[in-house]
């Protein structure tokens, strides 16, 4: 198939960007953009959400907002907050990785989800991307914002969304291992193995020919239809509660059926050509930096090929005692103890270094987006990225999250400041969600407990 001129251009640009930056894991990678109906004048609008666990180090205010007794002119160099006062950002040791991204990042103090307030001291991460009121009215959680966007625009890309985590699966209520939920009782299992993620993104037909794939998909659609009929008659034989349970199944098969149709359309579009040289897909927990960057790289690749526009990444969870993530800080910092202990003990050295390490990885991702030009600007201009935790310094607290927003500069966001939403200025975190959704062309007026949108962050 003949490449269109913009494809060639794009490919060169990408290659150029990679080499110019000397990015270790991707320098040898070449990417060809899929033939999505995009023009460089009209870049896709994307959203990414990342979650870190156990809160962050804030000696200047354990409750997540600045303590009144903390001297105003002494901002701790290892505080997660880059500076002490609302206003233009200055950077300390912990936030230094974002220094060159100053005009692309904002820090937001005092935001949280009311729905998480009454959840256990280890559980509010469940609602980070949903804002659901899990202790009262939405006990099985509720739809996350990436899925709200995917419901509206997901059909425009090969995959409606990408749901990643470091531990995989859905987890259970109160100890979620995913940020994404289709709706109440419908968590989406996160994928955590780089090779599997890569294959599902870029080799979904396992090397089979397009004609064969198309024939299979066509057949599958009609078979699933039959199966659905079969299941419905079975469904009717069940008691009411069992029927509700079985609805999960019917919905799932229906969604697979729909996906078959979708995929079938997408088989007309060539898959992006990927060369995995330089991408270490076997990497695992014991090499945390490589692993986390690989996960970020996969999201970057999914975005740059326009395979999807919405991604979530549960970088850590509060309930990881049965996974290698429990020892993450040990592998990273040589900390002798479980990663969770850092949040309990808050030793300044380790706690600060741990935050900085996490910031470095996130900044790596943001830089990749920033350094890839797109349209009149770069990819970060067209991608809004939320990053944070559902706990402040006091790790059992479920209020005043550390919140970091990046990108979307050409979607209406303006950056470079620390904002404070405390006292009578306190607003729900969901207000930010409304602004994020609106910026990526999802016209919602309200989400979860939102009371409006967040004009402070938007260009006037």
């Amino acid at each position: 198939m003949a490449s269109k001129s913009w494809q060639i251009k794009r490919r060169e640009v990408l290659k150029g960007a990679g080499i110019a930056l000397g990015l270790p894991s991707l320098e040898a990678m070449t990417i060809k953009r899929a033939g999505a109906s995009l023009s460089p004048k009209n870049p896709p609008k994307r959203m990414m959400i990342g979650y870190i666990a156990y809160g962050t180090y804030m000696p200047d205010g354990q409750s997540g907002v600045r303590s009144k007794t903390h001297p105003i002119d002494q901002h701790p160099e290892w505080s997660w907050w880059p500076c002490s006062q609302p206003g233009e950002l200055t950077f300390n040791k912990s936030s230094e990785p974002f220094k060159d991204l100053k005009n692309y990042v904002s820090y937001l103090r005092g935001l949280d989800h009311k729905g998480g307030w009454k959840m256990g001291g280890h559980s509010s991460g469940d609602v980070f991307a949903t804002g659901a009121d899990m202790t009262e009215t939405e006990k099985t959680n509720n739809i996350s914002i990436d899925q709200v966007a995917a419901n509206l625009h997901g059909h425009e890309t090969r995959y409606r969304s990408l749901v990643l985590g470091t531990e995989g699966g859905t987890g259970s209520y109160g100890s979620s291992k995913t940020l994404s939920h289709r709706g109440p009782g419908r968590p989406i299992p996160s994928m955590h193995k780089p090779q599997e993620i890569f294959n599902r993104l870029f080799d979904p037909y396992s090397g089979k020919g397009i004609e064969q794939v198309r024939a299979t998909l066509k057949r599958e659609a009609s078979i699933l239809d039959l199966l659905l009929e079969h299941s419905k008659s079975f469904h009717r034989k069940l008691g009411r509660q069992d029927q509700e349970k079985m609805d999960e199944y019917l919905e799932s098969v229906r969604s697979i059926e729909k996906r078959v149709e979708r995929t079938s359309q997408w088989t007309h579009e060539p898959l992006p050509v990927m060369d995995t040289k330089g991408l270490n897909l076997d990497v695992a927990y014991k090499e945390p930096k490589e692993y986390i960057r690989c996960m970020y790289d996969l999201i970057y690749l999914a975005f740059v090929t326009d395979s999807t526009r919405y991604a979530t990444l549960m970088l850590e969870s509060e309930q990881s005692s049965t996974s290698e993530m429990w020892n993450y800080a040990t592998y990273v910092l040589g900390y002798k103890g479980a990663t969770h202990d850092i949040a309990h003990k808050r030793p300044e050295d380790y706690s600060g270094q741990w935050d900085r390490w996490r910031a470095e990885q996130h900044a790596y991702f943001l830089r990749r987006l920033r350094d890839t030009s797109e349209g009149d600007g770069n990819m970060l201009d067209h991608t809004v990225v939320l990053w944070g935790s559902a706990h402040p310094h006091a790790s059992h607290s479920t209020r005043n999250y550390p919140i970091h927003l990046a990108g979307g500069n050409r979607l209406g966001f303006k950056h470079g400041r620390l904002h404070e939403f405390i006292g009578d200025k306190k607003v729900p975190l969901a207000n930010l969600f409304v602004s994020m959704l609106n910026a990526i062309d999802v016209p919602v007026a309200q989400f979860a407990d939102s009371t409006g949108s967040m004009s402070e962050l938007m260009k006037g």
């Binding site: 100890s175 419908r186 299992p189 057949r219 199966l227 008691g239 199944y249 103890g337």
Partner: protein, 855 residues
């Protein structure tokens, strides 16, 4: 609905205790009419009300609702239903004697007894009346383990596919085989379909006989006394090109059974009776990479000498072993590679302390001699194999009337996959599917693979369901039995009994339970149940402080990965987990009393563990029951390394984790997570060994923060007796004097572990305080004292807890008050025999709760 009644109980207790510290006993005005009221035989609600008003409502009334419990309005619901959980809490708290708190005026035991029996009567009544009410939903998907086992038993060979499925959710101390946790989404369906196609590609073979891949290699016979030779595998650093490097397969098929034959013997220095040989297959292993994938093929203990070599046969499925993908060389794809590596996994616990052997040499330790190994796959002793002919069976129909044959094939397969007979209409759907797919596949095999794959994504296969069939659906009972005791589908015998409608006969059920438990498939139940019940999984990820325990795990000594844990070998940590699973299995096998979980006169050990715990020496890696003497300080589950490590910090014991474990897993309480806004304490050991908090410091911290104290002063005492056991689960009751800084292992100072132990012994001169005053005011000292106290005061709670957990696991749902009568009745039935485990399982399977249908 929550099953655990004791959440509130726990809260109630706390509150009482807290309040007690503020109110003096003399403020309490005794109700003069109280005793008179209770002297009457005719007990009614009013008297219970009086009891509550007298002893309870001060803290749990309209003024204060400590622990969110308020008893001033209880009893107004004459049907008892709304308040059932509260009553259950009250019952349990009264029985345990923990309430009212000791600082308050106590009711007479006769008063207490009267209220207890009134509540029991009411609970029983309510439970009986609830029986007529519909049972809860039981529909849930198979857990990943059940799914894999079901495929194994459906097809007759095992594919390890769990890693291809989204991980199942888990909750600490809870079983995940419940409708609440077993959700399904498109991601599952998607993977199920992939796996179904994969497993059918393996199950149904192509008609022509396949190419058999064979590889054989011999190693030169060397002799005994000339040092480590090429045909030998020693414990330490082996020679290049020797058999220890394994041998790579020239070629291997993508699917099929394989057979590996090994001609092996052992060179055993004096004092050694055996050496374990382990075979792994997959990538070739390199110490400088910890990510090379291999899987175990099998382990045997070799006791035969080189003059009488044995031929050992290992078998398995080739699909389960990970090949190393071939590289691209000059744009040509090289074939994937696979290596079989034999390992000498002799381990007496001192191997990683080379110095203890002085100038240690391989030839001082057991060696393995391998003359030859051969690999063959697929196995064509019988072709097509059984797993093919059990689906595409031999029949003249195949040539006479293909459609009738296909119909038969589908019906037979569905009957087994659905674990019950199928209707013609159900078969018809899949026949239609066959009609649709056949044009695309040139062979019957191809078309059947695709058709039957669709059976495997239908809800009747993927779910535990009960439709409104006959009121006593024997097929449902067959499945319930097999998924309980095998975590898999029923076999032919169970399905036969279902067909003959015999599965409501208690004698038949008893016989079947014994048969199922005697089958090796029961291992899956024991492992699954034990791991979740005891919340053991986390012990694998506790970071062991290497400074403090320098020789607990093996570490790579040189190269880029120096200092990292040695990959590819079974570790003491693996063995410690196996110990616990084996112990529970042994209790069931022996039909021993449940109370053995508190204390037993045997432990399940192997050589490595005997050395870890310091018991009498044994040899080999296999587990067996070893009789214990009191000075071993072992017995029961409380001293299992898996439990103690999992509930420690890797540096120090953690009395709170251990207390939570004891109360959750053994006593059956539910200990709530720290609520939001409770400050996190620096309660765990952290960056260095000598900065670990002492228990005194820790408890002081808890006392000083009121929000902590509310919960912790009832919790912490339970963990104190465990302080005698260190972070890796060894009995170490002596500690250094206050202020002494324990130095970590230092080769130059201590030379070897024995030297380090001498040093530790020289500073550990004080008995550690392991005395605790429990919430019921009893004082216990050490785990031995704790065990004694548990057996004499908590036996009933412990038996109830285990029975309840088995019942809940067996039914695949949390229990509620509907099951209260069942629970009591099982406990009564098994009491005479001393609450033996197998008897309990039998009683569960015979119970109404278990055999009754949802309709």
């Amino acid at each position: 609905m929550t099953t655990k009644y004791s959440v509130r109980l726990a809260q109630t207790l706390l509150i009482y205790c807290v309040l007690a510290s503020f109110t003096g006993a003399n403020e309490f005005v005794r109700n003069a009419t109280f005793e008179d009221t209770f002297a009457n035989d005719n007990i009614d609600e009013a008297r219970v009300q009086t009891f509550l008003e007298t002893y309870c409502v001060k803290c749990h009334g309209s003024d204060q609702q400590k622990g969110n419990i308020s008893l001033n309005t209880i009893g107004r619901d004459t049907t008892f239903k709304q308040e059932i959980e509260v009553w259950e809490s009250v019952l349990e708290i009264l029985e345990s004697g923990e309430m009212p708190p000791s600082s308050e005026v106590q009711p007479k035991s006769s008063e207490r007894q009267i209220v207890i029996s009134w509540i029991e009567t009411q609970l029983r009544k309510s439970s009986h009346s609830a029986k007529v009410v519909h049972r809860k939903s039981v529909t849930r998907r198979l857990t990943n383990i059940e799914y894999q086992n079901t495929l194994r038993d459906l097809f007759g060979f095992e594919l390890e596919i769990i890693d291809k499925l989204p991980k199942d959710p888990t909750k600490p101390y809870q079983f995940n085989n419940t409708p609440e946790l077993m959700l399904i989404g498109p991601e599952q369906i998607d993977r199920y379909l992939e796996i179904a196609r994969q497993v059918l590609a393996s199950a149904i073979v192509d008609p022509q006989e396949p190419v058999v891949h064979k590889t054989r290699r011999e190693w030169l016979r060397h002799g005994l006394d000339r040092g480590l030779a090429l045909d030998e595998i020693g414990v330490y650093g082996n020679r290049r090109h020797s058999v220890s490097q394994g041998f790579s397969l020239k070629s291997f098929p993508k699917t099929g059974d394989f057979r590996i034959r090994v001609r092996a013997s052992a060179i055993l220095p004096p004092g050694h009776q055996m050496v374990p040989l382990r075979l792994i297959m997959g990538n070739d292993i390199q110490i400088n990479s910890s990510t090379r994938e291999t899987r175990e093929v099998g382990v045997v203990q070799l006791a035969n000498t080189p003059d009488s070599p044995r031929t050992i046969e290992f078998t398995g499925r080739i699909e389960n072993f990970p090949p190393l993908p071939g590289k691209m060389v000059n744009e040509k794809q090289q074939p994937a590679r696979m290596t079989i590596t034999p390992q000498n996994i002799f381990d007496d616990g001192s191997l990683n302390d080379r110095y203890s052997y002085g100038n240690l040499r391989n030839i001082d330790l057991p060696r393995i001699v391998i003359e030859w190994m051969e690999f063959e796959s697929p196995i064509t002793d019988k072709w097509p194999p059984d797993h093919h002919t059990s689906i595409l069976f031999e029949s003249p129909l195949q040539s006479d009337d293909l459609n009738a044959y296909v119909n038969q094939v589908i019906k037979r397969f569905m009957t087994r996959a659905y674990r019950r007979p199928v209707d013609p209409e159900e078969v018809e759907i899949f026949f239609q599917i066959y009609e649709q797919v056949k044009s695309e596949f040139s062979t019957l095999e191809g078309a059947m693979r695709e058709t039957l794959a669709m059976v495997l994504i239908s809800p009747q296969f993927l779910y535990h369901t009960e439709t409104e069939r006959a009121p006593d659906d024997h097929y449902a009972i067959a499945s319930r039995l097999s998924y309980f005791l095998w975590a898999s589908m029923p076999d032919e015998e169970l399905l036969d009994l279902a067909e003959k409608q015999q599965l409501n006969d208690p004698a038949v059920i008893e016989k079947q339970v014994l048969r199922l438990l005697g089958d090796e498939r029961a291992e899956s139940f024991i492992r699954n149940f034990t791991m979740q019940w005891l919340n053991l999984e986390k012990m694998k990820t506790v970071p062991i402080n290497r400074d403090r325990f320098p020789r607990f795990l093996y570490y790579v000594s040189a190269g880029e990965r120096a200092g990292t844990e040695m990959p590819y070998l079974p570790t003491v940590r693996d063995y410690l987990l196996e110990e616990t699973v084996a112990f529970v299995g042994e209790l069931i096998r022996r039909n021993a009393s449940v109370l053995n979980i508190v204390d037993s006169d045997f432990a399940m050990l192997n050589q490595r563990l005997a050395s870890h715990y310091g018991t009498k020496k044994i040899q080999g890696t296999h587990f067996r029951a070893v009789p214990l003497s009191p000075e071993d300080n072992l017995g029961g589950l409380l001293t299992h390394g898996s439990v103690l490590i999992g509930n420690g910090t890797g540096t120090a014991a953690h009395p709170i984790y251990r207390a939570v474990w004891l109360r959750e897993a053994i006593l059956g309480d539910e200990v709530p997570e720290p609520p939001a806004e409770v400050p996190a304490l620096s309660d765990s050991a952290g960056e260095s060994a000598d900065r670990a908090f002492t228990i005194a410091e820790l408890l002081a911290q808890h006392r000083n923060v009121e929000s902590c104290n509310d919960c912790h002063f009832r919790l912490d005492p339970w963990g104190i007796p465990f302080e005698q056991y260190n972070a890796i689960g060894q009995f170490r009751p002596m500690v250094p004097s206050e202020g002494i800084r324990v130095s970590v292992f230092d080769k130059s100072k201590h030379e070897d572990m024995a030297g380090y132990q001498n040093y530790l012994d020289s500073i550990n001169v004080n008995s550690l305080s392991s005395e605790a005053t429990l919430p019921n005011q009893a004082t216990v000292s050490g785990v031995r004292g704790l065990k004694k106290h548990l057996l004499s005061n908590y036996a009933d709670s412990i038996v109830r807890n285990i029975t309840r957990r088995l019942l809940s696991y067996g039914m695949g749902e949390p229990l509620d008050h509907h099951d209260w009568v069942t629970l009591e009745s099982i406990m009564e039935q098994t009491e005479a025999g001393g609450h033996r485990l197998r008897d309990i399982i039998i009683a569960i399977c015979k119970s109404d709760s278990f055999t009754a249908n949802s309709n």
